[in-house]
Subunit: 235 residues, 2 copies
């Protein structure tokens, strides 16, 4: 069993260094992460989670992005987090804020990235992947606890003891290539962002509101990057 020219391990098909599971929301950050993983030569299994969020347009964007960037597969897993609520993204009674908020914003979804990484870890184990990619970055982790390096590190530790593969000696690596990039730096990576939807309350055609936190950060990113904003806005 030897690595081929691309560094893939052929043979029993159980483990390849170059298979990755990429969490793909359909937003700007995760689309860039998928492009980065592809550029590093990973065969990518894209995974989106439909969790009762308001912005379902993101999922349609995710499917387009996965295909365009050459993901080998794209799965959408449904989890009805509206049964738990507690976030403006999962409870219709909590309004998406349209002005910057202090502290952790109401768009925080309790334990969301723990859940997303749990699903990605399960898929990685089945797919024989040891590399997971997730598009967390500084802009988010100034607000969301589960976008911080200490969270990512704790999850890597958990993965070692949580899985059959871990017990058998595997080490899962969670790649966060954007963790120290600004929104502008992400945008400068030069992807076709017209395909992506970041808005927390996009309409059914994927048009952004232009007012929520996510829209503001994205628009400011294009401005700072000196790149024309290709986002389709509702009004």
């Amino acid at each position: 069993m030897c690595p081929d020219a691309d560094g893939r391990i052929q043979g029993d098909g159980k483990v390849s260094e170059k298979i990755a599971v990429v969490l793909l929301s359909g937003g700007l950050d995760s689309a860039t992460v998928l492009a980065m993983a592809r550029a590093e030569g990973y065969r990518c299994q894209a995974l989106s989670v439909s969790y009762g969020q308001r912005h379902v347009a993101e999922l349609e964007a995710a499917a387009r992005v996965a295909q365009r960037l050459g993901a080998e597969s794209h799965r959408v897993i449904h989890v009805d987090l509206d049964r738990i609520g507690g976030s403006a993204l999962t409870d219709p009674a909590i309004q998406v804020p349209e002005a910057p908020s202090r502290g952790i914003p109401v768009t925080y979804v309790p334990a969301r990235n723990t859940l997303f990484l749990a699903l990605a870890l399960g898929l990685a184990e089945v797919a024989g992947a040891r590399d997971l990619f997730v598009g967390v970055n500084v802009v988010d982790y100034s607000g969301y606890p589960d976008c911080r390096p200490e969270f990512i590190h704790a999850f890597e530790q958990l993965a070692r003891v949580a899985t059959k593969a871990g017990v058998e000696g595997a080490r899962f690596h969670i790649h966060t290539p954007q963790i120290s990039l600004s929104k502008a730096e992400i945008i400068q990576r030069g992807l076709d962002y017209a395909q992506t939807v970041s808005c927390y309350q996009a309409d059914r055609d994927g048009r952004a509101c232009g007012r929520c936190d996510s829209c503001r950060l994205r628009r400011a990113g294009f401005e700072a990057a000196g790149v024309p904003d290709p986002t389709r806005y509702a009004a």
Copy 2:
């Protein structure tokens, strides 16, 4: 804000020492855990996960058990893990073994308890609970990596950095009151086990096959406990 006679903290309603989230599969172990949590004075929010498993009869059993044991609420969250597969419990193409297996059995569901605890953690944060109960025990953790004490400990560490509550100083405690009990000792706790379903391939009426790993462990438990087995078998 003072504890009342039952040790509950009244006041802003955000945090009570005596609210717990209990993972409830509807099987023998988790039913006993709910009874134990109730006996310790916890107000219990029961949480079941429908994850494409074959034994949906368990979920109906969970609803009966939750009501009978006085859980304050019972939620069923759907997660379509059959999109990932990789286990006899989530992939119809993999047969449930009817003889004891060596090593980690094919009924292992990749990252299942990571996923279950992620959902329980999210609910705990929304409900103001800091205590989670889960029915793992030695019989399981001889086979399943995510039933071991080191997994539980790693998840507690993760919960501290994964959540808004953790960032604000909360410490989540995962109770595993059965972790060192044998199946017989669990049964001797004396619950009405006729309500529960453990079989991996129970029929629609909740009748057990009597042959899978889960049925064998349960039957052996009743024998070792010297208690008549109230399980309803299909044949």
